[in-house]
């Protein structure tokens, strides 16, 4: 329960930050950090339950709701990310900061590609692929950069046995 509250709070805070705060800052290109994908990676690493998958879906659904995209798009991307991270950490030991940062970078790319693939499949994507991919890489880099502090905030949501194992 405590873990769900921590994740919920961080998700709400991240959602607000990535949808409001960063867009109001005068940084010119407004690259918005995808805090939710970091949380989704956290769920994939530490929540190997049906609730974890549901959490990823809810994160994506929330993102759809506030970002104005069609409902289900980001939800699909998040569930894909969750699933891939879950499958990855079943085979690879991912616990140090660097490997998590790399995982977040890859996860962000995977999520973007999943979203683009579904959009293209349903015929709703009419942008150019070149700029889109450079944007994907930029956003993935930003997500990777913010991953360590987000993981630090989420440390309270780790299972007791995981915390003891450290």
């Amino acid at each position: 329960m405590r873990a769900a509250a921590v994740i919920g709070l961080v998700a709400a805070f991240g959602l607000l930050v990535q949808t409001t705060l960063f867009h109001a800052l005068p940084f010119g290109v407004h690259p918005s950090p995808d805090v939710l994908v970091v949380i989704c990676v956290f769920l994939g690493l530490h929540r190997h339950t049906a609730g974890g998958a549901l959490g990823a879906f809810i994160l994506g659904y929330l993102q759809d709701t506030v970002s104005g995209t069609a409902a289900g798009l980001n939800a699909f991307g998040m569930v894909v990310v969750y699933l891939l991270v879950y499958l990855t950490c079943r085979r690879l030991w991912v616990d140090n900061v660097m490997s998590k940062v790399v995982l977040v970078f890859l996860a962000s790319c995977v999520k973007a590609l999943a979203v683009l693939a579904v959009s293209a499949l349903f015929g709703t994507f009419d942008g150019e692929w070149g700029p889109t991919f450079s944007n994907v890489l930029l956003n993935a880099s930003i997500a990777a950069a913010i991953a360590p502090p987000v993981f630090a905030l989420l440390a309270g949501a780790r299972l007791p046995e995981e915390r003891d194992a450290r």
Binding site: L25, P26, A53, V66, A71, G72, L73, F76, L83
Partner: protein, 278 residues
């Protein structure tokens, strides 16, 4: 059942992926589709979004203000440098304009002469109680010789006292060694204009009954064989008559600002003013 328990995450994820695609399909294909949960979430987040947006804008304003301040400072510095450059340029142009005016005046003055006339620049001056001289950049190489008259558009400057190969020294009319045969323009009274030891200039050897008053213009007489006739020397500013003696003297203020001279004309003895003043 065991299969479901072991693969619950994969199965849940698969179901959620299908739900997502279904949701996406419905929301994109049905324009009338409204997401009630989404609206609830939006309503719940709206107040917080207002606060976060306000924070973001405030931080943005502070940041923009700081950047503007830095830009303003840089602009200010650039403007200062630009102003300094332009002022320097203005000074240079003003100087060129003044030089141009002086040279034009000198040229027009030169046109008044018939005979050999050389233009020269003043390159040094040695004003002192015993020697009022200046140096010009013309010498014997340029056919400038001792004894030649030196003039400016306003009048007499002095005469060449010494000439080297490339330069010449000019004794000013205010030097006590200088002597110029002169006449008072109005009364034609004749005398010798000489320098004093105090930098002033006197018209000596005037007859006691000669008609000389303050304001009279003094011109060269041309009788000394050095200065052409009819060139302005100066203006009488004082007349002194002693109680006794046959002569009187007048204090003459030179028409040329000798301390600010930059260009002069060197005139040989054969040169004449084409239209001397009456």
């Amino acid at each position: 059942m065991e299969f479901v328990r072991r693969n619950r995450i994969l199965l849940t994820s698969g179901v959620l992926l299908l739900v997502s695609l279904l949701l996406f399909s419905v929301s994109t294909r049905s324009p009338a589709y409204r997401d009630p949960i989404g609206h609830l979430v939006l309503d719940a987040l709206a107040p917080f979004q207002v606060v976060f947006s306000w924070i973001g804008r405030s931080v943005g304003r502070v940041w923009t203000g700081y950047v503007d301040l830095v830009d303003a400072r840089r602009d200010n510095q650039r403007m200062h440098e630009r102003v300094a450059t332009l002022e320097s340029e203005l000074l240079r142009l003003g100087e060129l304009e003044r030089e141009n005016a002086r040279l034009a005046e000198l040229l027009s003055f030169r046109a008044r002469f018939e005979g050999t006339v050389y233009g020269a620049r003043v390159i040094a001056r040695e004003p002192g109680p015993l020697a009022m001289t200046l140096t010009i950049d013309r010498g014997e190489r340029d056919h400038v010789h001792r004894g030649m008259a030196v003039l400016a558009p306003q009048g007499v400057v002095g005469q060449i006292a010494e000439a080297s190969h490339t330069a010449a020294r000019v004794v000013l009319l205010t030097d006590h060694n200088s002597g110029i045969d002169a006449i008072v323009q109005r009364s034609r009274a004749r005398g010798i204009v000489q320098g004093g030891t105090d930098g002033s200039c006197y018209m000596n050897y005037l007859n006691r009954d000669a008609d000389v008053v303050v304001g009279d213009r003094v011109l060269t007489s041309g009788l000394d064989g050095i200065f052409p006739k009819g060139v302005m020397i100066g203006e009488v500013v004082d007349v002194s008559r002693r109680h006794r003696g046959l002569l009187q003297a007048a204090v003459v203020r030179p028409s040329v600002a000798l301390d600010r001279l930059e260009e002069v004309l060197v005139v040989d003895a054969t040169a004449q003013v084409a239209d001397p003043p009456a």
